[in-house]
Subunit: 348 residues, 2 copies
């Protein structure tokens, strides 16, 4: 593998000249330029990235930390960030925390070690003080999708509160007055905001008494299953469920289906995220859609701005991206029908 000095020798100039020429910090007369280019081609010279990084003190690579890559939501998010990073000529080092707090800290450390130029960080749990401290000590970090309250770093989220309002308004307008909210733990900002918007708008649109039950937990199928089991024990049962993530929704449907509860006849169902092929479920699920691609893109955009301002800390902005309601067939007006079994057909 040829190196700079091989090229320099072949072209009959010094390494400085080659380096500066190739990096555009030196312009040369045509003859010399051509000599160098020829030497590069013939030797198939390609700069050694490790040397370059050591010398320049940066990596041209950023880190992306997500809780999990396999779930549909994070998979799309990763895809969006990767695409944008590639477009900008940046490498992407991917880390999944698999919900282990220790890993979050470890990966944040890898940023501090100046291993990476910057990092996009996605958590999915309520931040504890250790995480907050770690995040605080980092520069060139942007928080995506979920907040770490108190952290003074740029943040990019979807407009969770507006999503909650859309959901609340939609269910209320359909006539629902008794609903189950399946959401993120109370100390997670996304969960709190979704709930706040939801409750607010339910009340505003209903214009009368409203009952909102709550089951909270992580954004995973098990929380959905749990919620469904709790739902089955409620008397009277709420007439609608708002599941604030696709993963929760999937768990919920599993249990509901096993219990022979039909949607939307027995209960209406409203989702959040809208990533998985919700349109193919039985019935197709109405949901609030997150602008996942934009989230990824904006996070990277914000990170880059942070990098540009040489002053360590960037302004702790918070950017909220709009969500949309995708109407399908899982929400209907409530019925008063009490018996819960009807047309079992293509449910096993």
């Amino acid at each position: 593998m040829a190196n700079l000095s091989d090229v320099a020798k072949k072209a009959g100039v010094s390494v400085t000249t080659v380096s500066r020429f190739l990096n555009g910090s030196l312009s040369l007369p045509d003859a010399r330029a051509h000599q160098i280019r020829t030497a590069v081609d013939e030797l198939r010279y390609v700069p050694n990235p490790h040397a370059r990084r050591l010398s320049r003190g940066r990596s041209d690579a950023i880190g992306l930390v997500v809780p999990d890559i396999a779930g549909p939501f994070f998979a799309r998010l990763v895809a969006a960030v990767e695409e944008e990073a590639d477009r900008l000529g940046l490498g992407l080092v991917l880390h999944a925390t698999l919900n282990r707090p220790a890993r979050e800290l470890r990966y944040l450390d890898s940023l501090r070690m100046r291993h990476l130029d910057g990092m996009i960080f996605v958590t999915n749990r309520a931040a504890d003080s250790a995480l907050l401290a770690a995040v605080r000590s980092c520069q060139h970090l942007v928080l995506l999708d979920e907040d770490v309250p108190g952290a003074k770093v740029p943040k990019v989220f979807c407009d969770n509160e507006a999503g909650g309002r859309m959901a609340g308004g939609y269910l209320a307008a359909m006539g629902h007055r008794s609903v189950l909210f399946v959401g993120g733990e109370a100390d997670m900002v996304s969960g709190r905001r979704r709930y706040r918007g939801f409750e607010q708008e339910m009340h505003r649109v209903s214009d009368g008494p409203v009952r909102i039950e709550r089951v909270l937990g992580r954004y995973i199928p098990e929380t959905g299953r749990d919620a469904a089991r709790r739902f089955l024990e409620m008397a009277p049962r709420p007439t609608a469920i708002f599941a604030t993530s696709d993963e929760m929704l999937i768990g919920l449907i599993e249990v509901l289906r096993d219990a022979l509860v039909t949607i939307p006849d027995d209960v209406s169902l409203l989702g959040f995220d809208d990533i998985g092929p919700l349109h193919l479920f039985a019935p197709p699920i109405t949901a609030i859609r997150q602008p996942v691609r934009d989230l990824g893109r904006r996070a990277l955009g914000v990170l880059l701005e942070t990098l540009k301002t040489e002053t360590g800390e960037a302004a702790p902005t918070e950017e909220l991206l709009p969500v949309t309601l995708i109407e399908r067939a899982s929400v209907a007006p409530p019925t008063t029908r009490l018996k819960a079994t009807a047309n079992r057909k293509d449910m096993t």
Copy 2:
């Protein structure tokens, strides 16, 4: 940020000593060892990875190239590889080709530039000669999931032919004699193998005349939609469809549903991959399941073996991981019923 010579100064020894001690290639009496450890702690010293990589000539990082990260199958695959890489202390640089051949070549190049220690490469298109040449010129490469025929590198696939046989045997045993195979292009090894196994076993189990229609294309929803449209025009229509990827399956179901074709009454449906929440579809879809996690793990394992043998080229092994048939409700014996509309219920 402290460096090695700071530590050396503080501990009153040479940098060599510190470096060798920290890397375990020098053992020291307790007193010295303690001095060094103290200095490291107090200065919060952490080795500069760029320098280390330059010096050692390796990165402790591998690349993973996939066609796309957002799809459920590749998302899981990425997750599996990431998990294993992390366990081994290796960084993972992720690249998505988004089905652009030029990108595959570019990313393979990034391996050749000794940027990375090794690479796991997943393609999803029929290999052309440019790709083959590029792959051939690479060391420390392992092919995952899809073959590049002629490449002399280690390969890890699921047992596509066995999967095809399972599918064929299952449909035949259910009584189907006229089927539609929706598969990868004929020049893709995975597609060819799935088809070969499928056809073989259909014939063997049927023990009589069999009709197999084929629609081939990329493993994406559009191919499924296309296949469904073609299916609708066939007369007589096949009684079962074998869709050899989740993505194809999704497209297929969309169109079938719009055309009011019910599953499995009007046509039986059998999938492949079994990653997406197929159990929540209407009806739950029977499918051949790929061992995605194992695929990721084994690919990394094989890559590591390749790295160990200092001799550039590793034995071009081909490892086949077993698949399983997950029985659900989308396959039934064929009916002779001709009218295609019946119990429209929870399909919009």
